[in-house]
Amino acid sequence: MRRFVLLSALFAALGAAAAQEPIVIGVNLELSGRMTVTGNDTLNGIRVAHMQQDEVLGRPIELSICDNASTPEGSIACANRFVDEGAVAVLGTYASSHSIPAAGVLQDAGVVMVSTGSTNPATTQVGDFIFRIPYTDQFQGRVAAQWAWNEGHGERVAIFRQQDDDYSVGLSGFFQEALEEMGGQTIVLDFTANTVDFSAQINDLRSFDPTMIYYTGFCAEAATLIPQVRQQGFDVPILGGDASDDAQCPEGGGQAFDGYTFTSFGEPEVLSGEAAERATAFGEVYREQYPDAGFTGFVLAGADAYKVVVAAIEAAGSDDPAAVRDALMQLENFPGVSGEITFVGTDGTPANRVMGLYAYAVADDGSWEKVVIRGIQLE
């Protein structure tokens, strides 16, 4: 009897020791550099989701956070670090131009990657270990083109494109394709990252006489572009992509952003049914943790990336990346906070995503808010 007690105590101790060994999940995000704001929003979402569930299979989950400094080189360095740390899965990155190089490393090493923000189709085409939470640019571009055409702005659309960014070029391309199919006319005006003087591009705009402007870049440039467009007397509607879903836009550009419309990740208000309830509940926890931070679609995307990985580890019953990948591929109607997530039969991009249509309302004193217009889906 005594021996049995001793033995069971020993086993319990061993079990406890095994339970102590954490499961490592890497987080590869833009925590400094150009895309800091979005990167940190996403990280906050992941942290809150981690707080809600910080163990799986009886073992604690450890987040290994790596800053890729918004560079492809940094993104690769992070991916290598996770491989060395024996991570099961990697969450992130936000930008496609950082996701694609990291995906190459992780696919070679056989580590699962779930991108939180990459919308370029090429990302998940890297291999079977690569997944993503958002829709693709193809989807977003079509939705935006449909909106422009149906609202009657689609006759002549000038597209501002950041020529050195995967996301922006991809989105412009798909938008252009879709709109021209419907019968609209487009021109593409290129600029590079960190441009401040857009007068040359606006000169090019003059002869086209646009009925709408579609902006596919990021807020760092939009904050100077949009005021310049308005000051030069163009008062046509402006539509942006999800990169415009960033406080830097209305803060940096001020009044000119009043009425600026954009498509972005689904938020509680545009989701329907149970998804909306889940998102609202998550938002409450989030606000408690981060009262000052923004609650954007990227927060939800980060949380969902974490949640699907944990669910897959649970379903696989092990922390072997290949088993986790297989479990992810079987994922169907997972109750995520950004809507249901289904990976069955896709290339790693969830099926049937809901997007939101939003606008900025900026008051005279510079205070602003993000107005939810409605949910928007492919027709």
Partner: protein
Amino acid sequence: MTTPAHAATPHGPSRRGAGLARRLAPWSAAAVVAALAVWRMLYLHGVNDNFNAAFFAGAVVRSLQLGSLYALIALGYTMVYGIIRLINFAHGEVFMVGAFAAYFLFSATPYPWPVAVLVAAVVAYGFLRFLGFFRVLGRPVVLAAASSCFVAVALALASVRLGWLGAMVASMFVTGVLGMAIDRVAYKPLRGAPRNSMLITAIAVSFFLQNFGLLAFSNRQTPFRPQSFFTGQLTFPVAGETVFTTWMVVLVPAVTLVLVLVLTTLVTRTRLGRAMRATSQDAETARMMGVDVDRVISSTFLLGSMLAAAAAVMWGMSFGSINQPAIFGVLPGIKAFAAAVIGGIGSLPGAVIGGVLLGFLENFLTALFPRVGSFSGITEYKDTFAFLAMILILLLRPSGIVGEDLSEKV
């Protein structure tokens, strides 16, 4: 002391006729360029009604605005080069610091007392150094002036909300002191060292400031909108059509003009200016004649950096926001340097002419060749104009547009 530029200038006595021809050459070249531009404008107007007089008038005023900004930055490069033959790669980053200093000065005032006192100390120090250069005032007068400056600035910072002008002036002093500090810490120990060493050090300082700025200020786009009448919209009619701009197209050239006039007066009329010119011609002889060369160099960095800060405030107000520090100063800095080379590095009028010319190259030229019909325009190539123009100038006429004979070396 001669520069490579001198060596490459064609010399030898010229006959009277040749002299006249040479004097007329630039004007006739300018006339040809203007005629071509007018012809192109008329052609474009025939193609599309939107390319009317108002369109080109807008392009001209915006080119002038951009060119004035480049000119202000280029002056800093050219002054430092004139004195110590150093391409101050860090000048673009000094420009960046000027912008952020001004941003914090107008957006966060009134300040708590400790901050106000600290900034006031820096400003008063710069003021003190600056007055010291004149040496006409007695020591007690200078000290009294500096301490009253300190008290005034501290009081102002802690109680008043600064407008753009106040922020600009304060930022000019803070940034000027930074310029002097850079010279003292990084360049002064290398006086007389091989020039490559100095250049590499300058590049290192530039990298340091970029990353330090990233650390200290912000790594995101920063709105730069002081309360001002000048950032409001300005519309005026030209030939029956309306030109849409902001009042900045008036303010920027005006500020540049005033600062250039002040600088020219300083260089030509004061003791300090005389010492600067003497140093730029021959530092060693100037030293023997009793010029405090170190002080002259210091003051050059002070003045150049002050102009950069003024340019930074004008830049921020023109475009409404400032980029993250790691990149904000890079492109404007390099382009302004190209402008200085185009104008003739080492020459003050050269820097202004080069800057304005670059403004026209980047803005007016793209307006002359806009996207129309199947022609996709030349906007994508805009950023290379500065470099291509610089390479061309260096290969064809290394002394720049303003040759030696015209220029006033500083």
